[in-house]
Amino acid sequence: MSALDILMVVVRVAFSAFIPLCFIAVCVWMERRGAGFFQDRSGPNRANIFGFRAAGLVQNLADAAKLIFKEDVTSGHIKHKFYFVLAPLIVFFTAVVSFAVVPFADTLVLGGKSYLMQGIPLDLGILWFLSFVGFSVYGIILAGWSSTNKYGVLGGLRSAAQVISYEIPMGLAIVSLLVVYGTIHLNEIAQFQGQLLFGFIPMWGAVLQPLGMVIFIVAAFAETNRTPFDLAEGESELVAGFHVEYSAMKFAVFFMGEYVALFVSSAMIVTLFFGGYQVPFLSTATLINNAKPVAFLLMIAVPVAMHYFAGWIRRSNVSHYPRENDPRVFEAEIYIKCFWGLVIFLEVVLLLILFADKGGPAAHIFVMLLQMATFLVKITMMIFVYIWVRWTLPRFRYDQLQRLGWQTLLPLALLNIFVTSAVVVALS
């Protein structure tokens, strides 16, 4: 192994391990600010460090400090302590590991070698994701059962039954997708979606498989136990469901696992239906060949976007009542300076690419970074959809939930498989 090989292993593992963890903070922040936005209030905006509130991100730090220093209670009535501790770990671990096969950029070619840009360069693709989604049920079942608490057991039962029954429409939706793509390898699926339909529509899964997309997204909502399918923790009925006995960091691990699962399922939806890391209309080859024009356009577009963004910060980050020497205006100026610093850094990087060799390693790395950024932007948009749905729709009743899964989604998914197979066979 050369030094480059080792560096690439480190980069890939670091990306696929740390990005989901970093996105916990982003998700929690988006959830709270999103909830505030949909309910016409501000959301968390008081916690600060020396007056800097970072639009509410500092609240996460306060939460983390609270959860770390809280007393970790394990009630005396819990007999199976091993399973009680194991359960949150399973939920968290399976969520993080299932991201390992999601490609976050196209295969990188450096020095005549190609590197698959995913945590574990395995060609199992979607099967790996399915197997680890199945495993996360263990965490829920063990947590509910070992709590020895009626609410806990009820929450665990509901949640496990829900996850198990929605795995079936999800699996069937994936089957019809695989018929279209002809591969289980997520990287090949993303490459397939880089093509253009009739020359101008991106060949995304959402265009080729609209019904499959609806089924998959509904099933993914149910799998992550999010509203409208969050009966497992229906506060009004079950207090908190399967994690009612958990406190401090054990609860925090559940909480983080839930958000990592949210991130990973958004990543899967993006990879399967929204082109993955592909920049719309620009395939990898086009990007590498035209790295310089793209970099030049970005050099113009980024400062323009930043100008409007700065204006938005200046308008939004003010006190809601007249104050002398408004500290929030001062705060906003600091943020704007930081962002301009970032933009200048970006400009320097883009300038370097303008002067690099055409089609050389710099172009490849530039395209990789561009695709990573696209992927993360797409995931963030998908997470926003999750939050949007959560704060818009009320909760299902339990029998409605099971009826939707078994009597609506399952037949629809089967129908979708037949129609898709017929079309694929007719076209080939």
Binding site: L124, G134, V137, Y138, I141
Partner: protein, 169 residues
């Protein structure tokens, strides 16, 4: 060297899980040890470069079937006092060991007489989903379809057995 370590690790885990399944008194402990065995077996399949079987073992056996078993155990909510009295179980175990020991010795002898051969990694996408699918649908189509009909019959039977009984019957 690495593969040998991994093989030994998985093999020991699989055997320990199986022993735990037999010896634990609480059904939840038994089911969890069976999960350990299933996962260890998946690891052994992966060492044999049977990637598809590895994934299927994780999805079907370790994932779906075992989580249903765990679900049922949770549903029953067994307490310590509900468990049956098993006073003579050590005698049964001893009897089982006495019966099995000669067979095990025989098997060990057979394994020892196997000619040693160098293990190499099979290339050419062996064990991948495409290769297995091609073999299954080209060379083994009829057996594959017959097995799927068998599964269909089992499925229909399960639905009939679980279906609503008519009143007055």
């Amino acid at each position: 060297m690495n593969t040998e370590l991994l093989f030994n690790g998985f093999a020991i885990l699989a055997v320990l899980g199986a022993v735990g399944l037999v010896l634990f008194r609480h059904p939840m402990n038994g089911a969890m040890s069976l999960v350990v065995t299933m996962v260890a077996l998946a690891g052994l399949y992966a060492l044999l470069s049977a990637k598809l079987i590895f994934a299927l073992q994780l999805i079907v056996y370790a994932g779906a079937i075992m989580s249903l078993i765990l679900f049922i155990i949770m549903f029953l909510n067994l307490q310590e006092k509900d468990l049956p009295e098993e006073s003579g179980r050590w005698y049964y175990l001893l009897g089982g060991v006495v019966v099995i020991a000669p067979i095990a010795l025989f098997l060990i002898k057979i394994v020892k007489t196997l000619p040693g051969s160098e293990a190499t990694i099979v290339g050419g996408g062996f064990g991948g989903i495409k290769e297995v699918g091609l073999v299954l649908f080209q060379d083994w189509l009829l057996p594959f379809e017959i097995v799927s009909i068998l599964l269909l019959i089992a499925l229909v039977g399960a639905v009939v057995l679980a279906g609503k009984r008519r009143l007055g019957k």
